[in-house]
Assembly symmetry: C2
Homo-oligomer: 450 residues x 2
């Protein structure tokens, strides 16, 4: 919808007809807000909706077709084959320019019972409504198992805790939040347990046990059986590219649609792609990456829309910044973890510092742990991770900006960051971490390591 409205800004309705096809019942909403609506922090589903189909029609001359699923592309004829789930019919829509914005689908391992009633992936607002309906339904829900301890899994775990449910998170890896290094993930683990969430790490799920009524009854891990009235999958997502791949549109090594900087598919003229379904590049590792995140999706949609509208814009790639909050625990990362740095061929040192979000003596000073990964010898920052309480996580942005500019940790330690007692210690935790990382680089050089 961002692509559509940007294109409309530059080309009026007499010049460009715009039709948006949506399989589900909602468009233009904050998918990232779904866990907070499930948890009741956000009171109405309408709060998550930015613009309705009626608003797009009235304000932008954009026609939105809900429950219209694109089921095939005929690129030779430049037509989209569409299943209209409402009227139960098939339609064809011709196009000059096509934007693929098919998003991502939750990873769903092939396990016995995974298709049972009561097992949910949570990606779309329709998914969120299904979970809410299950929670409010006739079958009482008391015990929830969350499979996977990543961003979505933990945000959902918080939502269920807030609803007073018994929550267990099952994670195959040794620590939750695998998007962090394990040492930082362990800090998250400790905090989760203090919130009353049961955490079972290093326990892959073997099967979902289904009751005689066809509903989930328990989750079986390699170690135990966890009774469950409701199961949600938080194993991550993959780009939803079946439609594109079937039509021969090129998909990259990460499984996302390959595009150029203007968000044109590399294989087909007049076919664009944006959002969770595409592949982009990580500016640190220089490797292709697929990151499902609303902020990238919006930027990419804007780029596609501006270009379709006759302007010029490019998407510059990502550095891998992400943030989440679980109750009052804040978690953020950017750039490369240790294992990413290994994979990308970098040699590195690390530094971990503990500090406070405000001057230590100032009321509301909360703990913050910052970890930096810096290249050996050059001292170039490769990645950063933050775990802390209120006021900790947003500091990741300054590290993302320094990563973008390929700064060394020595340079970062000299940055003119804001200081006043309600906002930071006299040395901001970011500066302390950079100083310590530079010490590690120097010590490594002095030790004659190669």
């Amino acid at each position: 919808m961002t692509a559509a409205s940007q294109a409309r800004r530059r080309r009026k309705a007499d010049d460009l007809e715009i039709v948006a096809l949506e399989r589900g019942r909602h468009i233009s909403y904050s998918a990232c807000g779904i866990p907070y609506w499930i948890g009741g922090v956000v009171s109405s589903v309408d709060d998550l909706v930015v613009r309705t189909p009626a608003e797009f029609r009235a304000g932008y001359d954009i026609e939105v077709r809900l429950r219209h699923e694109a089921v095939g592309l005929d690129l030779a004829r430049r037509e989209v084959l569409v299943r209209d789930h409402g009227e139960r019919r098939e339609l064809r829509f011709g196009f000059d320019q096509l934007v693929l914005a098919t998003g991502a689908v939750p990873l769903r391992p092939r396990l016995p019972g995974i298709g049972a009633a009561g097992v949910f992936g949570v990606q779309t607002l329709d998914d969120g409504e299904a979970v809410r309906a299950a929670l409010d339904g006739r079958e009482p829900v008391r015990r929830v198992v969350v499979v996977g301890g990543g961003y979505i899994g933990l945000e959902l775990a918080e939502a269920f805790v807030q609803r007073g449910l018994e929550v267990t998170v099952v994670e195959a890896a040794a620590a939750p939040m695998a998007s962090l290094d394990p040492d930082m993930g362990r800090l998250v683990a400790r905090a989760l347990e203090s919130l009353g969430i049961t955490l079972r790490c290093g326990e892959p799920v073997r099967a979902v046990e289904v009751g005689p009524d066809g509903r989930v009854r328990a989750v079986l891990t390699t170690e135990c059986e966890l009774p469950a009235d409701l199961v949600v999958l938080g194993l991550g997502v993959r780009p939803n590219t079946a439609l594109a791949a079937d039509a021969g549109i090129r998909v990259g090594v990460t499984g996302g649609i390959a595009t150029d900087a203007q968000m044109r598919t590399v294989s087909h003229d007049g076919v664009w792609a944006a959002g969770d379904c595409v592949e982009t590049v990580n500016r640190v590792s220089l490797a292709p990456t697929a990151v499902a995140l609303g902020t990238h999706a919006n930027k990419q949609g804007r780029v596609a829309g501006i270009n379709i509208g006759g302007g010029y814009a490019t998407f510059p790639g990502v550095v891998g910044t992400a943030v989440t909050r679980v109750c009052d625990l804040e978690v953020a990362r950017t750039g490369l973890r240790e294992r990413d740095a290994d994979e990308a061929g970098f040699r590195y040192v690390t530094a971990v510092v503990e500090s406070t979000t405000r001057a230590g003596y100032f009321p509301g000073a909360e703990p913050i742990t910052v970890k930096l990964v810096a290249e050996k010898r050059s001292g170039r920052l490769l990645g950063a991770q933050i775990v802390g309480r209120e006021g900790a996580a947003k500091r990741i942005d300054v590290l993302a900006a320094t990563l973008w500019n390929e700064m060394t940790v020595e340079e970062i330690a000299g940055l003119d960051l804001s200081y006043a007692p309600p906002f930071a210690p006299v040395w901001d935790p970011v500066l302390i971490a950079a100083r310590k990382a530079w010490d590690a680089v120097e010590a490594d050089v002095a030790a004659g390591e190669r």
Copy 2:
């Protein structure tokens, strides 16, 4: 004290004797915390003290002489002439290396009555104790006038409001917080009034009226007479360089001691200077500047100490970042204001956006206004200002980092900043502001402006 402890880390006591001379009764404390102690937010003065003289002696072999005021330098003989206020005697200390860290002194205009009892500048912990003593003294204090609506003035105004006093801030300029552009300053003005602070802008102070007891009785502005039991000066500070200048040490155009990148005075071998008494360079305007701020002072002291200790470090200058909070109002700036850009010879466009600190639908989403100043044609960011509520101001750091790297607002709009509903809208206010500033750059080019 940072210079002293850094030097000690690299050179042990049998190699380097370190003596610290302090005119007052305290060392190694957070001067920035003084308003919060006066206001009672910080309960004990001890909380502001990082290390005591005894700790420096025991832990670092650093001898601290309190109430020892350096009153003269004999650079030919390499001696400091010292007045010991405790024993009422004069001493001489020889040195091989001398670090000048004489700080800043509050600006005190030459006005009738300015020297009266009850008129305070607040720079040192001794000053803070004097204000506390006046508030807790026999003479009841009900009405306070703060002269000057800058950082220190407003922080003190908050402190007095928190103590239940009647507070008037008198500011000669048209808006408070002259470190912002007037349009942003007006946002601060509105917020201050809503906090119950009386604000009188555009009213220079003419005189302080003194009672028969020699104590302040009122402040006379060009417009009115303001009864006052206590007056504090918040007109800013100037580098305290009398000692250095008397000895012929070079002082720059800003009034601060001129140093090289290693914090050596440019005029004398073995004489170093760091902190509020020195001049540094603004990396955006490339002009010399004197900024009194604890974080720079610490960095500079560390640089001097490392170099004296035989290591190598440099101070890279500043971009002019500053932040403050007045009750729940957050104010931050970095880089050049419009008038600074004019002075530096830049032509520019501006953009101001209003957004929220979290996703608009998320509880605790607070207003934030971001203003950017960007160079015409190139689109290079020149400066940024933020006024908002909780969670707004620390975003200045990412703008400081982009300024440091001479990024354009178009590049900034592409940055991979963290997004999740508890932390930001899907477009962080920083990104929205950068986008809008880039639109302004493009519109300006399209209009053929030169």
